[in-house]
Symmetry: C2
Subunit: 458 residues, 2 copies
């Protein structure tokens, strides 16, 4: 019956929970932009204070970049690590936002109220579902269930450079029986999913340089190497006409989909048309030989995420630029080795750089794909707990995104992660007008109370 009391506490406290989330969203913790370093730290301090409210021993832990926030409650029962990230993506193009990204508002959406702000969904709104569930639990029980450790990172949106060293340096402190992460989406409206496989990520930046200065295309056009041409020629060759990545050996370690899993995924009735239609698209543009779900969950990709070179502002400038640059990410699956692929990619680029040009590389993260061992009973307990909260029963699914930490928890701390999240596919994370449904927030808090009740052994 104490679960019911906790759920009731959550319902009564929803407005206060929302107020706390809005305070958190007002802090522009853009980790990738050094101009926001101070604000990013403020977000960490804000979270630390939340954990102290829960009775946890909480503190900021310095790293070469943004600090980690940790908290421990101690106590009997199963040991659980909850992870979230308090940093957010940049907001450009700012002109496409309908309201200021760091002045959150709760407003009417197409189907219910939404919280609109950068980070509303990814990951501030989502991580606060767990923190608020704990707050309600404590209000009812006087303390938290099980033995909970909190770990909040401030560099998830900028490649997590401090994460591996931190995990390795604090293995004993951070290793628990199980990890929980709230940074994924509902499988579909009304139906939660637990992600049991995630794609890995390899991030690379290449800068092509030619002349030692920008040149006038009248004086030098036709005779001087143009780095934008060189860059476009290289990038254009990254995928063939069928969507297949052309790097030699790229598909080594990519498994064919297990028939049992394939049958499960078929049973999900994935609506590719609706998924693409929601963002103005109509046709799967990936490898034509694979189903839409495979294209986003179990097939690797190469995507250009950014490109720049020369003058791209208003008007026109007849310049041959000294350099051009692009950022490229690869989503990885199965046993693809990000470090080996980085070298393959760089060799492949170098082989195409013509005379008079040079190339420089910068790395932006490398994490393998990961797969959970769902024979731990907690996975089925969590699935049932979610089903009790939402209109439809929860399903085990794949995810196209990379949550490298789930892989590191396996490889460094030897623990699996239950990835349950309440975002919707129309949350526009990483885009202008990001939002989080109030229903996601509310049911999300209730979901964690149910999961804690089911798995913590309290």
């Amino acid at each position: 019956m104490t679960l019911d009391a906790t759920l009731e506490q959550i319902d009564h406290g929803l407005d206060a929970s929302l107020d706390r989330l809005l305070s958190f969203l007002r802090i522009p913790s853009i980790s990738t932009d050094p101009a926001y370093a101070g604000e990013t730290r403020k977000a960490a301090e804000w979270l630390r204070d939340q954990l102290r409210d829960l009775g946890a021993e909480a503190e900021l832990r310095e790293t070469p970049g943004h600090p980690m926030v940790t908290g421990r409650t101690g106590g009997p029962g199963r040991s659980i690590l909850f992870y979230g990230h308090y940093d957010v993506q940049p907001v450009d193009p700012l002109e496409l936002w309908d309201s200021a990204p760091f002045e959150p508002v709760v407003e009417a959406g197409a189907d219910g109220r939404v919280i609109r702000a950068r980070g509303a969904s990814d990951d501030k709104g989502q991580l606060m579902t767990f923190v608020e569930a704990c707050r309600a639990w404590k209000a009812v029980h006087g303390n938290l269930p099980g033995n909970i450790t909190f770990l909040f990172e401030g560099e998830e949106e900028s490649g997590s450079p401090s994460l591996i060293p931190f995990l390795e340096a604090h293995k004993d402190e951070l290793t628990c029986d199980l990890a929980l992460i709230c940074d994924t989406a509902l499988y579909r409206d009304g139906q939660p999913g637990i992600v049991t496989q995630l794609r890995g990520l390899l991030g690379e930046e290449i800068i092509i340089r030619a002349a030692d200065r920008d040149l006038h295309s009248g004086s030098f056009g036709g005779i001087a190497a143009n780095p934008i041409h060189v860059l476009t020629r290289i990038l254009a060759g990254l995928r063939d006409e069928t969507g297949r990545v052309t790097l030699p050996g790229f598909y080594d370690g990519v498994p064919q989909l297990d028939p049992v899993l394939a049958a499960q995924w078929d049973g999900l009735g994935f609506d590719a048309e609706g998924f693409l239609g929601a963002v103005g698209l109509a046709q799967p543009a990936g490898e034509q030989a694979y189903t839409p779900l495979e294209q986003i969950w179990s097939r690797p990709t190469a995507e250009i995420n950014g490109i720049r070179g020369g003058y791209a502002g208003a008007g026109f400038k007849t310049v041959l630029p000294a350099e051009a640059a692009a950022k490229i990410s690869f989503r990885l699956v199965g046993q693809q080795d990000p470090h080996r692929l980085r070298e393959i990619f760089r060799d492949w680029v170098r082989a195409q750089v013509p005379p008079d040009c040079s190339v420089e590389f910068h790395e932006h993260g490398a994490s393998p794909a990961s797969q959970m061992r769902i024979d731990d009973p907690a996975f089925e307990q969590a699935r049932q707990a979610l089903g009790a909260e939402w209109p439809e029963e929860a399903v085990f699914i794949g995810a196209g995104g990379s949550i490298p930490i789930a892989g590191y928890f396996q490889s460094i701390l030897g623990m699996d992660t239950i990835l349950a999240g309440f975002a919707r596919h129309n949350d526009q994370i990483h885009s202008p007008n990001e939002k989080y449904d109030v229903e996601s927030f509310h049911r999300g808090i209730r979901s964690w109370a149910r999961i804690l009740d089911a798995i913590s052994g309290a």
Copy 2:
């Protein structure tokens, strides 16, 4: 002997001439950026006042964009139109400037003093050589030679949208026996050239759009069309491996080089290695079947001048952008028709836009190549006058750059232009740290006094 008196006057007045140029350079007249519209107008007013000092009836003439400045002196003798432009290129990347672009300084350069500022060479410093020659002439003679009309434009660096309508509306006022323009470079150090053929220019901007918002490359990578991929694939196909432009019909109207001209150009002893070496390059990157001089003077080109898409700032953002864009210019020769090529280019792009993507085009100027009829004796008179001023005799040359107005003077006003300029190839026009040699400025002023003396019939 009055020529000698004028030259002496120029020598004595050099410091005052420099001071006036520095005042002009302090006005940030960046025509392509609407934020500088007010400053651009100030530059026009400043020039108008200079012309009034010369006794010309001078005024600002409104256009839909930046104003024209015109001035007339009347008087007997040959009628001459002098054209220059008072607008300048943008200054980015600002961090590569060693001094502020609009705080001009006169400083020691590698070989003599230089004036350093945006526009020091292109075209403020150059056009002021003519204005200062007139000022000295007037000081000695009391009035200007011949019958001079001045025309200064403020949109040359942004596609000259108002130019053709203005020329057409004021044909009678502007048509003279001959035009003079000072916006070109010395053929080489110590040796001036008169440009008798210029490449034309076609400017195009293409914007590729896919989803109706930026997407997360985790959720959508592999299934959603990526406009940067589409753009790079299209642009990569613009030239083949030999440097040849692949647009169908692109080479229609491109003449083979006349054997007489080819022999003349061979006689120039063009130092391609030195030309490229000065900017950190070593190998001609254009059509391999043509000489370096042909690559820059008589062969057409396709160059990408700018590209943008996704997140290209510090750090990394795993975004699939909603759009990607590029600016492309074609240098044209012979009878290539820019309007026809614009349509060919657009059709060629449209045919490559895949499902779920759209393309938008913006035009940025279209001017054909031009060729002067040098049987007018003024050309040879000017060549000899230049030879008297500089260490080496002047030569008739080609130019890779586009000075569309020289073509319009032919097609609309029926007059040829003597293009004589004193820039050096290391002036870094359109680049950070633009400069103009004090020697170019000084000898440039003296050169115009000599040319006016030779051709004005004074």
